[in-house]
């Protein structure tokens, strides 16, 4: 009898190539910023464009985060997500207009108070709406992608039309509160105050969301549910409840994004949600369906690219997103940070 061959298993960490591959999406944003600098040439306009690109990216991320998690958790693709953006914007703007005394006062505290109230109202309404939407529209069609897409598109149309019924057929114009108007000058570049606020707020929200997802028990369950829902249920957690919670939170975030976008554009229309959905879908796809970090990077890329291209070649601005989508999908067909499904 021969002795068993020596068997010494070694645990090797991922090689340099794998680690670089994982980090590559993170490098894309700085690369894009540098490329933007090189092709624009002027520091001040580059700075302005970068800040507005980041602001736009943050807002898109806020709208996209709920959608990508909902998909990751329950394999539900919600084409009606855009409706929450519109509803949030309309509710928020109505509150700002109703509090025009606060919003028009030259005091930062009162202005921020008006915006905070608008945001709370918008998030509350869209959260309730999201809960109802999940109950009435999405729940009967679990597991059937085709029907999900059809039914949620129907829901989007109905909500959009109801906005017309409630708020009238025309778009609503508004001006931002006093202290958020105008720009500050930094290194020769004019940076709009509101955009800076949006960047700071978006970044804080992203960090908070990451903290919840990485450091709390509910975050752990959500992440585990995205990777392997069956296993989480087998361990005794009611994933359905978690899912409803994520759906409601995602809808509220879409409403928040809607308010921010409405204040950014200073006009709200019932169709804005549908328009934003196109960007949101691009972001969610290039980020990798189900991945919050991927959506964050994707949103920044889309925002920055759109602003740079709009400056360099205005006609190409629309096609630039499709170009970005094409390039990323050529590189990684599953998106930049695909969620590993243990199935």
């Amino acid at each position: 009898m021969t002795a068993a061959p020596d068997h010494a298993p070694t645990l090797s960490g991922p090689g340099l190539k794998d680690r670089l591959g994982q980090a590559a999406p993170l490098l894309l944003v700085p690369v894009l910023v540098v490329l933007g600098y090189l092709s624009i040439g002027s520091t001040s306009s580059w700075l302005t464009l970068t800040v507005s690109g980041l602001a736009m990216g943050m807002m898109i991320f806020i709208m996209a985060s709920g959608l990508t998690l909902v998909f990751g958790l329950m394999d539900v693709i919600n084409f009606g997500h855009g409706a929450f953006i519109s509803v949030g914007a309309f509710v928020g703007i109505s509150v700002v207009l109703a509090l025009s005394g606060w919003a028009g006062a030259p005091s930062l505290a009162l202005n921020l108070g008006a915006i905070a109230l608008a945001v709370i109202a918008a998030m509350a309404v869209t959260a309730v709406l999201g809960w109802a939407f999940e109950r009435v529209i999405v729940r009967p069609v679990y597991g059937a992608h085709l029907k999900q897409i059809l039914v949620t598109v129907g829901g989007l149309i109905v909500i959009e039309q109801l906005i017309h019924v409630i708020w009238g057929p025309d778009e609503i114009f508004l001006t931002r509160p006093e202290s958020l108007k105008g720009a500050i000058t930094f290194a020769g570049a004019a940076l709009e105050r509101y955009r800076i606020l949006a960047v700071v707020f978006g970044l804080a929200l992203f960090l908070a969301m990451r903290l919840v997802l990485r450091r709390t028990k509910i975050g752990l369950i959500v992440r585990a549910g995205v990777q392997n829902g069956e296993m989480v249920e087998a361990l005794g957690y009611r994933l359905r409840l978690v899912f409803v919670g994520v759906f409601v939170a995602g809808s509220a975030l879409a409403g928040l994004g809607g308010v921010m976008w409405g204040l950014y554009q200073e006009v709200v229309t019932a169709g804005m949600g549908e328009e934003m959905m196109i960007l949101v879908f691009i972001v969610v796809i290039i980020g990798g369906l189900g991945s919050v970090e991927g959506a964050f990077i994707g949103a920044l890329l889309v925002g920055l690219l759109q602003n740079y291209v709009a400056f360099l070649a205005p006609k190409l601005a629309l096609v630039s997103n499709i170009g970005l989508l094409t390039l990323i999908l050529l590189w990684r067909p599953q998106g930049m940070m695909p969620v590993v499904k243990a199935k």
């Binding site: 069609v141 039914v151 149309i157």
Partner: protein, 351 residues
């Protein structure tokens, strides 16, 4: 003979057969049965939408893929004819060039989109087509030197197809003019394309598509390249949609973003497929006919109802003809829930 023409796919319900025969007879004799400009417009629209909806059903009902770019392909065909007529000049040659170019462009574009999105997940396709279609729609309205922008293009089609061309006297009080020829061109092309679609879905290729719809994993395991079949179905469907667009352009003598590319038309198509019945070509016929008729005549009714309820605040807003889409949306959701097989499915089941 008839069974061969229908590719062996019979209606399989006496009532459905009657309805289909009535629609066929109504469309074939439309200029004589329903004289008047408006009813002829409606009849031509029905013919074209039957083809368009049938081509969409190849994707949605037979292959199980949701696309939001069908109007884009429709528009490609229409703009192909419009641009060719404008640049080459009036004549049948221009129509042919535009039609072929539109169909080829649509098939190529569909292939590129399909290869990008269907390779990974069929669900990507819905989102990517939505993004591409909206980008194209905006592009068309931006590039106004080429496409005429929001105003669209007016162009001249061969004289033989216009009302000014008279080739006979009167038959049953109907002027025998070019408009009549144009209508029959649309009618027979639509009929031919519809029979072609019927042939495709009842071929071995069509069976594979249905197998993929039912269970793509199993189809792959049996040995069919699912991606290739899906992409091929997308291309065929896009090309036929472009041909329908060309017919539309020849009939209307005008193309614009609102009539060919808008998202509303996409919703109309979705609704026609769902109401008629997904996964049957006859559903396209029933759905398109019902829907176009309803669209043309029900909106007036809504206006009347809104006027009648003038005093009641919310109700009259809800019944305003501008809120037509609201009711379409509600109808759409209800029909997906309660009539997933549509009218044709109901008729066949109730046999």
């Amino acid at each position: 003979m008839i069974v061969t023409l229908l590719s062996g796919d019979r209606p399989r319900s006496p009532l459905l057969t009657l309805i289909l025969l009535a629609i066929l007879a109504g469309l074939a004799l439309a200029p004589f049965l329903f004289p008047g400009v408006r009813s002829l417009e409606t009849a031509a629209r029905i013919c074209i939408f039957i083809v368009l909806v049938a081509s969409y059903d190849l994707l949605l009902g037979y292959t199980g893929i949701v696309s939001f770019a069908h109007t884009m392909f429709f528009g490609l065909g229409a703009y192909g004819v419009a641009l060719a007529s404008e640049h080459i000049g009036r004549g049948f040659g221009a129509l042919a060039v535009g039609t072929v170019a539109g169909a080829v462009a649509a098939a190529l574009l569909a292939m590129v989109i399909g290869l990008f999105s269907l390779r990974v997940r069929a669900i990507f396709f819905a989102m990517i087509t939505l993004a591409v279609a909206s980008a194209v729609a905006v592009l068309v309205s931006q590039l106004s030197q080429i496409t005429g922008g929001e105003d669209g293009l007016n162009y001249r089609i061969p004289r033989e197809l216009t009302p000014a061309f008279r080739w006979g006297g009167k038959l049953f009080d109907v002027n025998l003019n070019g408009k009549l020829l144009n209508y029959y061109l649309v009618f027979f092309c639509s009929l031919g394309l519809f029979l072609l679609m019927l042939r495709i879905v009842n071929s071995p290729f069509g069976r594979v598509l249905q197998a993929i719809r039912e269970n793509d994993f199993r189809a792959e395991a049996i040995g069919y390249r699912v991606v290739r079949y899906r992409v091929a179905a997308t291309c065929i469907s896009a090309a036929v949609a472009a041909l329908a667009g060309s017919l539309f352009a020849v009939w209307l003598r005008y193309v614009g973003p609102d009539t060919t590319l808008s998202f509303e038309i996409m919703l109309d198509i979705l609704l026609m497929v769902v109401i008629g019945g997904m996964g049957t070509m006859y559903g396209a016929v029933v759905g398109a006919t019902l829907f176009v008729l309803a669209q043309n005549y029900l909106q007036n009714l809504m206006g009347l109802a809104s006027g009648a309820t003038e005093g009641v605040p919310v109700v009259s807003d809800l019944l305003d003809p501008d809120r037509w889409l609201l009711w379409l949306g509600v109808l759409f959701i209800l029909s997906v829930y309660f009539f997933p097989t549509g009218i044709v499915g109901r008729l066949r089941a109730g046999r």
